[in-house]
């Protein structure tokens, strides 16, 4: 076979491997309306299921009468907890070691909780049936405040209290109160308290990171199809972790795992919403088993916002100490974590507060202590990581606010305070006071680049002038300069630390090279818009020397893909990306032997060069990967099995630690509370860059979600536990009109332990963006005495800050 491309540079370009902005292969179908999302699935005889939901946040259920609903033409069944109990499916395990009602078992604990599941021939009959299920409720006192919950005599979870009133341990140890879930600690309590007690300067602050929701544009849903003839269950759904879902379904249903096929089709955004297992999945499976027909369940938007997967809801109190010169000496943090009615947080088993212990941030803090108390309230369960690794957004928000507060205490510039406390390049790998080993970083370089690019000194001068003008009555707009420097911790994770329901958090890739030199690779992850089919092919192209355009990437079908823990927490590139590279290297190792045989030299006398193996010192003698692939299938090579396939299960030795430096310039109308984003600069260091176009797209998207959370997006409850933000009228998703243009930039500090040095990027802009937007608002008011004000910074809350500072007088 003659290779048409000979020039080395052309050969590299032809691969479309790592580092190039390859156009996405997914886009042809999406731009033509040919995506295949779960609600696009239509099967013969398919039924629709939907829930009767509780209007009350806390109530006892006296009775459920389904008779009238069953009279509706087209309604086939109405499932209640009583129907599920004989199967042992009225409760299900959560990812956090708790259990959750699938259908209300005697009481409800949050508004919107699933009470009964109506199964009908179409969605119209199901909707009509729901209206006719009669549920008699007896209202109970509602607790929406976790501090009140810890004082209250009202027992939210009677199932977790012994008959004698004793409190058995929870999944994470002893419980202090009947509404308490766990206490989780990291670091050294006494030494930290001692340093703080004797410090020259101490700043303390309390902050609330409000409850919000990932709200992907596609809601959660599934289609369950039980084939009774063959005993096989197929479950399509919006699953960010399809393999884990298969295992969970098997464990709770008793169906053997080989008889379950879970398929994640195209997913319309996840952002953490689609990690967990929801009652809708269980009920659909049961309904399909009961009826023998496929059953579809799709959330509507209100269901989605009210019942599946909230994020945040952390009440954080901190103390940070420093020398007079600003060198930080210790950090202390306490969190009261509102987990809602069931603890369904999606965290690795040993980390009930996720990786909140990354809260020392990017700074060299010698001593630290973190304590988190999880609490039950009458709110929806969830606690997912909304576009961040486990609780990292909370951690980074906490430290980036504490830094600002300390700067105020020290009367110091917040950029300079960061600079003098950054972990230095030569300190990596750096072991933080709360236990993590940061792999690599060059924070000073990134910070200097960011501040120089935005002309930080100039901005501060302009801001000072603005303050003068404001005081002189020449303007009613203040200017805020938001800074943030974040370190993420992603790529969960080493199996020795990280598992979910006992499943180690490795990931996988299996490659088959076809005889003509194209390939298919399957992974244990699942894209929800990240462009895996594009980027993983690029990794492979560089590793195995076949063009990315000749490599199909497939994910999400548990019958064909190797086992993996899925896509969330920016883990796909750090873990599955590494598995891909390692599997590619196995292919290459075999290819080297084949090449040596074909070239009639010793294995050690050939070397890999872009898309071929060449004889060392004789580059005119070579075999291309395409030729080698063909040979693998058509020649009997002594000592080598036919075929060219490989699989790798990658257990990362450590997490990766992407970082970045963000600056936001904001103008704030003091009289109306309306903020205007004038400029946003984002420098990201995600290690080796696989596809700059996709990285930039991820940064734009993550920043926009950060903007939303910082400036208005919340799941708000009233005192009765009613959700006040159940539609997109009130739940803030910005449109193109509210979003600025972003400037993106980068440095490259590869991860030393990752096969290709990549760290992951999808969540960084959200993690770094939220404190940056918030700091911009807060900074605008700093000259007038503002220290801290809670998010979301919507118009009225910004106005309130101005009002409290006397700026309307």
């Amino acid at each position: 076979m003659k290779d048409e491309v000979e020039n080395r540079e052309d050969r590299v370009a032809n691969l479309k491997g790592m580092g190039c902005s390859r156009k996405r292969v997914e886009d042809a179908r999406f731009t033509q309306g040919k995506g295949n999302y779960v609600d696009d699935i239509k099967l013969d005889g398919m039924l629709f299921g939907d829930f009767v939901r509780s209007p009350y946040a806390h109530a006892r259920i006296k009775s459920v009468d389904t008779a009238a609903a069953l009279e509706v033409p087209g309604v086939l069944a109405v499932l209640t907890a009583a129907d599920l109990e004989p199967l042992g499916l009225h409760w299900m395990p959560t990812l956090a070691g708790d259990k959750q009602m699938v259908l209300a078992d005697g009481k409800v604990l949050f508004q919107g909780q699933e009470v009964a599941f109506v199964v009908a021939e179409d969605r119209y009959a199901a909707a009509d049936g729901i209206e006719l299920v009669e549920v008699e409720y007896e209202e109970l006192p509602v607790i929406v405040d976790p501090f009140e919950a810890l004082q209250s005599d009202v027992v939210l979870r009677e199932d977790l209290v012994g008959e004698d009133g004793s409190l058995p341990d929870g999944a994470h140890g002893p419980r202090k109160h009947h509404n308490h879930i766990f206490t989780w600690e990291a670091g050294d309590k006494e030494p930290t308290e001692e340093v703080i007690a004797n410090a020259e300067v101490v700043a303390d602050e309390s902050m609330y990171y409000h409850r919000t929701h990932p709200c992907p544009l596609e809601t959660c849903g599934c289609v369950a199809s039980m084939d009774k003839v063959n005993g096989k269950l197929t479950l399509w759904g919006t699953f960010q972790a399809p393999h884990a879902i298969r295992t969970v379904v098997s464990l709770i249903s008793g169906i053997e795992e080989h008889n379950i096929r879970v398929i994640s089709p195209d997913i319309g955004g996840g952002f953490g919403n689609k990690v967990g297992a929801y009652p809708g999945y269980v009920c659909s499976v049961v309904a399909s088993i009961v009826t023998g027909k496929p059953v579809k369940w799709i959330e509507d938007r209100m269901d989605n916002l009210m019942t599946t997967a909230f994020a945040r809801d952390y009440h954080m109190t901190g103390k940070i100490s420093a020398t007079k010169e600003g060198k930080i000496t210790a950090l202390q943090c306490h969190v009261t974590a509102d987990h809602g009615g069931f603890d369904a947080c999606a965290d690795p088993t040993k980390f009930p507060a996720g990786f909140m212990n990354i809260c020392t941030g990017s700074y060299d803090i010698p001593t630290a202590y973190l304590e988190v108390d999880g609490v039950y309230t009458n709110k929806a369960p969830g606690g997912v990581s909304y576009r961040c690794s486990f609780r990292v957004t909370e951690a980074v928000y906490f430290i980036e606010r504490m830094i600002e507060v300390l700067a105020i205490e020290l009367d110091m510039d917040a950029a300079e305070l960061r600079r003098i406390n950054f972990i230095k390049k030569e300190q990596f790998p750096y072991t933080a006071a709360l236990g993590w080993e940061y792999d690599s970083g060059d924070y000073h370089t990134a910070w200097d680049k960011a501040l120089t690019t935005v002309d930080y000194e100039g901005l501060r001068a302009e801001q000072a002038q603005r303050v003068e003008d404001f005081k002189a009555g020449k303007t009613r707009k203040l200017m805020g300069i938001g800074l943030s420097f974040f370190t993420e911790i992603v790529g969960a994770g080493p199996v020795k630390n990280c598992d979910i329901l006992g499943l180690g958090m490795f990931d996988s890739c299996e490659i088959r090279i076809h005889p003509t030199g194209s390939a298919i690779a399957r992974l244990g992850t699942i894209s929800q818009g990240q462009g895996h089919a594009t980027t993983f092919a690029q990794i492979l192209a560089s590793e195995i020397g076949l063009p990315a355009d000749s490599i199909t990437i497939e994910e999400g079908d548990t019958d064909t893909a190797p086992y993996g823990l899925g896509t969330y927490g920016s883990r796909s590139t750090p873990v599955a990306g590494a598995a891909t590279a390692m599997a590619g290297r196995k292919i290459r190792a075999k290819a080297q032997m084949i090449a040596a045989y074909l070239l009639e030299v010793h294995d050690n006398d050939v070397e890999f060069d872009v898309d071929r193996f060449v004889v060392k010192g004789a580059p005119e003698k070579f075999k291309t990967m395409k030729e080698i692939a063909f040979a693998a299938y058509n020649q009997a090579i002594p000592g080598i099995e036919p075929g060219l396939e490989a699989v790798s299960y990658y257990d990362p030795p450590n997490m990766t630690y992407p970082f970045g430096a963000y600056v936001c310039v904001m103008d704030i109308d003091v009289d109306t509370g309306v903020p205007e984003i004038r400029r946003f600069y984002a420098l990201d260091d995600c290690g080796t860059r696989i596809n700059p176009m996709i990285i930039e797209g991820q940064v734009h998207g993550g920043l926009t979600e950060a903007l939303a959370v910082a400036l208005g997006q919340e799941i708000a409850y009233d005192d009765m536990g009613n959700v006040k933000t159940g539609t997109l009228m009130d739940f803030f998703l910005p449109t193109a009109w509210e979003v600025p243009n972003y400037e993106t930039d980068f440095t490259v500090t590869p991860s030393p332990h990752h096969p290709i040095g990549a760290k992951g990027v999808g969540e960084s802009p959200h993690v770094g963006g939220v404190p940056c937007f918030s700091n911009a608002v807060q900074d605008a008011f700093r000259p007038f005495g503002n220290r801290h004000t809670n998010m979301p910074h919507d118009h009225w809350r910004i106005w309130r800050t101005a009002n409290e500072l006397g700026l309307h007088d």
Binding site: G673, L728, M729, N803
Partner: protein, 284 residues
């Protein structure tokens, strides 16, 4: 979200509409663009056993700019208003306001009639029509009658329109002088936190007339005669603006919602009103 079942009618003329209304009383509702009603039906917050689609009833889609007045048919959409050059010349405040309603898709469907007739205190057109001293034409079994916009709104979703009547047109005296429609909202697609419609005329350096109404600050739109009167005869100095704002604040009665508490809304109402007045004045 699936609405409850209903009967759908698409009569070809007003007589047909009235006959159905006569037969079903408040079990029947007329629908123009449906962008307020259909979401309410989907959320099952509105029950409409008999839905009358007005799209085939002729004679309600015209915009006529006369020498003294403008007549806008009830089925004229927000996007029709934005695109009509003669209307933009004669009453530019309508275009300025329409552009601040909802989003492009909704403006294609949302009608003037629907916006003024359903009595939602969040809608923009009612306050605007009060500012412009519009009259609404209502047709019923007993014939036609006109109701001034300033007398039309009684409470949230309660208006002077009887269940068996249809609002067919809005007639506006040709506006004079400077105008402004100022609206603060949280995002595209939101109702106003506060919005003000102002129309001002000027003689020399002095305000000759001023009409002012505000939106979403009470359970009805608020036309404040006192606020307008506070400006007349002044050169719109700070004292006059303060007096106008004070008069308006006296007339509004906002409630707390996700947009903010009452104190905030009152403050913003004053700010938005001042800005609207000054912008209108600069154009007078």
């Amino acid at each position: 979200m699936i609405p409850a079942a209903f009967e759908y009618y698409r009569p070809q003329d007003m007589a047909g509409v009235l006959a159905i209304l006569e037969e079903h009383g408040d079990d029947a509702r007329v629908m123009a663009g449906g962008h307020s009603l259909i979401p309410m039906m989907k959320l099952r917050m509105a029950e409409v056993p008999h839905l009358i689609d007005l799209q085939d009833v002729g004679g309600m889609s015209g915009i006529e700019v006369g020498t003294d007045s403008i007549r806008i048919g009830a089925m004229v959409t927000q996007s029709d208003i934005i695109d009509d050059a003669s209307l933009a010349a004669a009453a530019p405040i309508l275009r300025e306001a329409a552009l601040q309603i909802a989003d492009p898709q909704v403006r294609y469907m949302g009608t003037v009639g629907g916006n003024v007739a359903n009595g939602d205190p969040g809608n923009d057109m009612p306050g605007l029509m009060q500012c412009l001293d519009a009259r609404f034409t209502l047709v019923g079994a007993d014939g036609e009658r006109d109701v001034p916009a300033r007398d039309f709104y009684e409470a949230a979703y309660m208006t002077a329109r009887e269940d068996e009547e249809v609002l067919t047109a809005v007639t506006i005296p040709l506006p004079k002088g400077g105008y402004a429609y100022e609206k603060q909202k949280r995002k595209i697609g939101d109702y106003a936190t506060a919005a003000a419609a102002v129309q001002i005329t000027k003689e020399g350096d002095v305000c000759a007339s001023a009409a002012i109404a505000m939106t979403n600050l009470s359970d009805t739109p608020v036309y404040s005669e006192a606020a307008g009167a506070a400006l007349v005869g002044t050169a719109l100095d700070d004292a006059a603006l303060t007096a106008a704002a004070a008069a308006m604040l006296n007339d509004i009665d906002p409630t707390e919602d996700n947009r903010g508490p009452i104190a905030f809304k009152k403050h913003v109402a004053g700010v938005i009103l001042r800005r609207a007045i000054l912008r209108a004045w600069s154009r007078a």
